[in-house]
């Protein structure tokens, strides 16, 4: 099943009187279970692409099908709903809310999904256990380490069983060892069937993925297949045009 299908996506910003083409005709297909890294120098449009894939932003033109649904022209409320149900974000700065406990942070997507009371607590606790943070759930974000924060953020990304996990430089604020722990968690999730899109400028991080999408000046420079022989990938290729 195709999770992400981008068709000729462009994004144009008006900077004063000048038009800036952040994305210029990007097409990409990501099937279920895939692990794609978006790489590129700063200004290549990788953040913009990530925002569009994450339904935080809308393309200026082109089509974006997420799990078969055209999401390119949805309104802000519908996009919020899609983000809630389909996408799990992992940010470079963790973006945990400081006033909430770790558990409270993980409960937020469930709260906006309308999951109440004891169910919410149980699902959030399960997600925390899954990333090995079961013993820190009542701490505030300020009381735990960077690696633990990112684990909490991954747990938060997982709670609504998203179709896609979107990780924007997830190791950017971590030391190498902690970073590789976090990448190992993402590897594990991918092995369990999670579809992952990672944004990084670090080649060693990107090589964890099955494919690397090289962006330059808003266009796809090349699509590098690292483990193209794997069956999930082939499935995606054959299903892509059906």
């Amino acid at each position: 099943m195709t999770v992400v299908n981008l068709e000729n996506i462009t994004k144009v910003y008006a900077m004063g009187s000048v038009e800036v083409r952040a994305l210029d005709g990007v097409s990409l297909e990501i099937s279920e279970g895939d692990y794609v890294c978006i790489m590129g120098p700063s200004g290549s449009g990788k953040s913009t692409l990530m925002h569009i894939i994450g339904c935080l932003d809308r393309p200026s033109s082109g089509r974006y099908y997420l799990c078969g649904q055209d999401v390119s022209q949805l309104d802000s409320t519908e996009l919020a709903h899609i983000r809630n149900r389909r996408i799990g974000f992992v940010f470079q700065q963790f973006n945990l809310l400081p006033r909430e406990t770790v558990l409270g942070n993980v409960e937020i997507p469930l709260m906006y999904a309308g999951v109440g009371g004891s169910d919410r607590r149980r699902i959030a606790m399960d997600a925390l256990a899954r990333v090995g943070l079961g013993d820190r759930m009542h701490h505030r974000p300020a009381e735990i380490s960077g690696g633990q924060k990112q684990r909490a953020a991954i747990a938060r990304a997982l709670v609504n069983n998203p179709s896609l996990i979107l990780a924007d430089e997830p190791t950017g604020n971590l030391d190498t060892r902690t970073g590789s722990d976090i990448l190992a968690i993402l590897d594990g999730l991918n092995a369990e069937g999670c579809t992952i899109v990672l944004v990084s400028h670090d080649r060693s991080v990107a090589e964890r993925a099955r494919r690397i999408l090289h962006l330059r000046d808003g266009s796809v420079e090349r699509l590098e297949h690292l483990r193209a022989e794997e069956p999930a990938e082939r499935g995606a290729e054959s299903n892509g045009h059906s």
Binding site: R85, N95, L97, M111, Y112
Partner: protein, 401 residues
Amino acid sequence: MGIAEIVGLALRNLWANKLRTALSVLGIVIGVASVITMISAGSSAQKQITSDISALGSNMIMVTPNLKPGARGRSYEHLLTISLAEQIQAAAPEVSAVSPVAQTEGRLIAGSSSTSAMITGITPAYTRIASSRIALGRSLVQSEVDAAAHSMVLGSRVASDLFGSEDPIGRQVVVVSSGRRATFTVVGMTASRAAVFWFNADTQVFVPVTTLIHRMSPIKRVSSYFCQARSPETTAAAVAQVERFLASAAGTSDAFNVASQQGLVDAVKQVTATMTLLLGTIAGISLVVGGIGIMNTLLTSVAERTREIGVRKSLGACNRDILLQFLSEALVLSMLGGTVGMLLGWLGGAGIARIAGWPVSVDLNSVIAAVSFSTAVGLIFGTYPAVQAARMDPVQALRYE
């Protein structure tokens, strides 16, 4: 998201900034408290004044000549006779009693003591109309009026000025007024009562109106007529009858001013209501200032929490969720302020009434008005920051440092 969850979130966020929350609540507290204090003080004052006016007499109608001459400079002074009282009563069936009232100032001497007082000429009906109570002796009787007798009832203050604590009944008082002297015998003393406006019964002495007019010239004319309506319900009809009679007697309706006690009460109520509204409005301005305080707090909070808004949106919060989150914070602030302000306002209103010696009167309507107004203030001033927060672009908000 349920309402309970939204309010819970608002409470937690407000609790996290206790000082800021307390300060912005304080604005509303002061606003609501001052509105309620002002309005209840006004309503207490009104109650006091109206009860004072009611004590002036029962179903009283005051007829006074207009001081300025009527049409074509004509004077109606010749109409102001003692017998006009009887004519009024005969012409107005709803009037049960009429007393002519003539007044002059004079000096009173008893032995070595002397004092000045308002000398009021009346008929026995006056005692009933003006609800005056006799503390010692008796009131004036009709035979004394008929005979223009030199009998006198003292106001309590005059009695104590002239005789101290001694019994004044049967004592002689010399009255000096406009160069004339006459000796009166004290037959009674009125009970002390509170002064209302210019009217203080305690500093008057009462003599038969005939004595004052016929024997103590130059007081030739009656100065007013006190009438009594048969019942409170017929006061308006009685006023109309008296007015009709006087207009036909004088040939114009301008000659006399006919005012019922109820009319006076209404006029005072109107004046105090206007004053209360004025004070309440000034206090209401402080409520608006409190609202601006809430808006300021929320705008700061929205700016500080830009990133949080971005994170919440990325996790699936829609604009409505964010709007309700901030709006509920505004409402919690204003309603908290409204409740505390209501309690303080109630205490303030009761305190002012107690100090002034007025009856305590906290108007329930003012409480409802102040609390609902403060809630409205929260809504109005909370909407702009909440809309700002809700409309934030998630990408921009996430980038915010």
